[in-house]
């Protein structure tokens, strides 16, 4: 795995085509956290969720797409993580700029039971500052983004991220 550091605006023209294992982290609830942009309203699977319904507990918002290779790698980890968190936190998937048919097939194959929303134009992901897929944003109970986890995550890395919010 390649590590990618956060690059400043002067270096924004350059990317590293690597799978990223490092957290681009802000301190939980610290001064560099920011309010999460609104979630998409189109529900692909599961129940409807919005930011208001997530308030009161940490939430993980995972952006993915059916065409994304690393997302396939991450999918079983998300399923296992979701089955283990109970009511302690919420997990929400957001399918970014994707064919709806392919996305539905991906969800079925992944056996995800958590809510998955659809961002067909990519506007929501862009508002979140998406720079690659998959990316998971960690929200504190007040709806602020406190961590960004680029690249495919594992159950352990997701639990770790969640632990830093508690």
């Amino acid at each position: 795995m390649i590590r990618r550091r956060m690059i400043g605006p002067a270096l924004a023209l350059v990317v590293v085509g690597g799978v990223v294992a490092v957290e681009i982290a802000t301190s939980g609830g610290g001064p560099s956290s920011r309010p999460a942009p609104a979630l998409p309203t189109h529900v692909l699977s599961g129940h409807r969720v919005d930011l208001a319904s997530l308030r009161g507990r940490p939430a993980l918002v995972n952006f993915w797409a059916s065409w994304c290779g690393p997302c396939k790698q991450e999918a079983p980890e998300l399923r296992r993580f979701d089955r283990g968190i109970g009511d302690r936190a919420a997990l929400v998937g957001v399918d970014w700029n994707d064919s709806e048919q392919n996305a539905r097939a991906f969800i079925a194959q992944s056996h995800w039971s958590y809510p998955v929303l659809r961002d067909p134009s990519g506007a929501v992901g862009n508002a979140y500052g998406l720079t690659g897929l998959p990316t998971t944003f960690v929200l504190d109970p007040s709806g602020n983004i406190v961590q960004t986890l680029p690249g495919p995550q594992t159950v352990a890395s997701l639990r770790r991220a969640l632990g830093s919010v508690d």
Partner: protein, 203 residues
């Protein structure tokens, strides 16, 4: 970090002495210049040659697109992060352009002569709903290296993972008269493209 700086330098060298104004910063251009949403080159500079085959073996020459806005991006099909984001946002921009989409030609140039084959490109275009909506140019390493050099594109295979390619990721906007006129970062917004395409096409 030093290697990244070298790549940035290479990427911007294509514009030579032309200055790049910040987003919406075409103020530094002449007063008659259109206001672009992307960073404006001041002055615009003739685009370097770009003649390669697409994934079907058809020859493509950027000069064939005079009169249109041309967006040139350098990507590879198994890029795990930013390339799909670029193409996804280009797809959205095309859709938002509606009938004006015929003023735009998107040209992707491979930065991976080994991994980008007719088969992988076909699958990539299908996955991203871009079949028939953009050109994806591939070629031999020497042919692609000549193109990268002409366009000032830095590429580098990291020793820690030779399956990946580090590369410049800016998108260059070419005017209808064939000049590099605008520059967009990898995290551009589709709305910037929608705004600039008619201006680029008529410039």
């Amino acid at each position: 970090m030093a290697s990244r700086m070298r790549i940035v330098t290479a990427a911007l060298a294509v514009l030579g002495a032309a200055a790049i104004a910040g987003c919406g910063g075409s103020d530094s251009a002449t007063s008659a210049s259109p206001k672009f949403a992307g960073a404006a080159a001041s002055p615009p500079k003739p685009a370097p040659p770009l003649k390669l085959d697409d994934s079907l073996g058809n020859p493509v020459n950027i000069t064939d697109y005079r009169g249109k806005a041309v967006l040139v991006t350098f990507i590879y099909t198994h890029c795990p992060d930013v390339c799909p984001i670029i193409v996804g946002n280009l797809h959205t921009a095309q859709q938002q352009l509606g009938s004006e989409a015929d003023k735009l030609q998107i040209v992707a140039v491979s930065v991976d002569p080994k991994g980008d084959t007719p088969k992988t490109v076909k699958a990539f275009l299908k996955d991203h709903q871009m079949t028939g909506r953009m050109e994806y140019l591939i070629g031999s390493r020497p042919a692609l290296e000549r193109t990268w050099k002409a366009w000032g594109i830095g590429t580098q295979v990291p020793k820690s993972n030779p399956d990946l390619v580090e590369h410049s990721a800016e998108i260059l906007g070419i005017s209808g008269s064939g000049k590099i006129t605008t520059l967009y970062p990898a995290n551009f917004k589709p709305e910037q493209i929608v705004h600039d395409v008619p201006l680029l096409a008529s410039s």
